[in-house]
Symmetry: C2
Subunit: 146 residues, 2 copies
DNA sequence: GGCATATAGTTAGTTAAACAACTAATCAAA
DNA sequence: TTTGATTAGTTGTTTAACTAACTATATGCC
């Protein structure tokens, strides 16, 4: 039987993703302490728009690994916060393109700095080669399941 | 600066825990397909009670890495499903001890089988030593942040 | 053109997470 | 022994995930 090195006690924390939950909580705290009124989920949408503005909601679904209703509501809330605007595509009127506002552009540097800081906290004392191997394993897991 | 091997594109998936989300989704699907009317979060509580029945809610908080309101509501829902019962502790009447019902005991074998299956799906083709290293890194991340 | 199908997005309902504020029971110390 | 602090658990509110059902637009085929 493959991979039965997973004894039950270890099984649990792999499934629950304790480590990534801890990372997300730490980042959220840093946001709160910095007075950034932003959830990690909202930040994750902005993150992909900072990389390329004007993505459609469907593209945001793919990028953030969320389903359509989740993105609809995240964009709703980001619009309420005046951080993004929906603009109907001229070519295909089913599509909403999502554009960052000036306010959102201002948040990029600070929040990305806090995110890098969080990962440095998380990975303190872990050698680079181990991090890389870990990333590869997690990517493989993701590919195995998608 | 330590650990700056994290370029931005990689940063995101580490924070979001794509891999563990994928694992949880796969396990939830297996539960649904098997007709198990159980969320992964509910299962995670049962999991720790199968290991040791009669834990207090606070002990379940620690074990599952959730806060008290989350456990209150999970136990509420598990009680509605008649899978656990709250029993006030005789020594200390602030404490609820949570006990599995017969119905819950029946679910253990099947659901744990599906969980192992899910991890085997997830880790297919990943050598044991890499899995072990990955576990160590994730544990270290968790310890760094708690 | 007209109809079936696919795609983009929204709405509704249930479950869960995070946080704050709360009640009740226990403990400790003056 | 009473007062203050601590601990266990609950309740309320907001945000988000997931599923299913829905609307509207676009596409492809006859």
């Amino acid at each position: 039987m493959p991979n039965n090195q997973f004894k039950k006690g270890e099984l649990y924390s792999f499934i629950t993703g304790k480590a990534s939950i801890a990372i997300a909580r730490r980042l959220q705290k840093k946001f709160n302490n910095a007075g950034l009124n932003l959830t990690i989920e909202q930040w994750s949408v902005l993150y992909h728009l900072w990389k390329e503005d004007g993505k459609s909601q469907q593209e945001l679904c793919n990028a953030t690994f969320r389903d359509k209703p989740s993105i609809t509501r995240l964009v709703d809330n980001l619009e309420k916060l005046q951080l993004v605007k929906r603009v109907a595509s001229e070519n295909d009127r089913r599509i909403n393109k999502i554009y960052l506002t000036k306010q959102a552009l201002k948040l990029q540097e600070q929040s990305m700095g806090l995110a890098e800081e969080t990962l440095n906290d998380a990975l303190a004392g872990v050698p680079a080669d181990q991090i890389n191997l870990c990333k590869e394993v997690l990517q493989r897991v993701y590919d195995n399941l998608k």
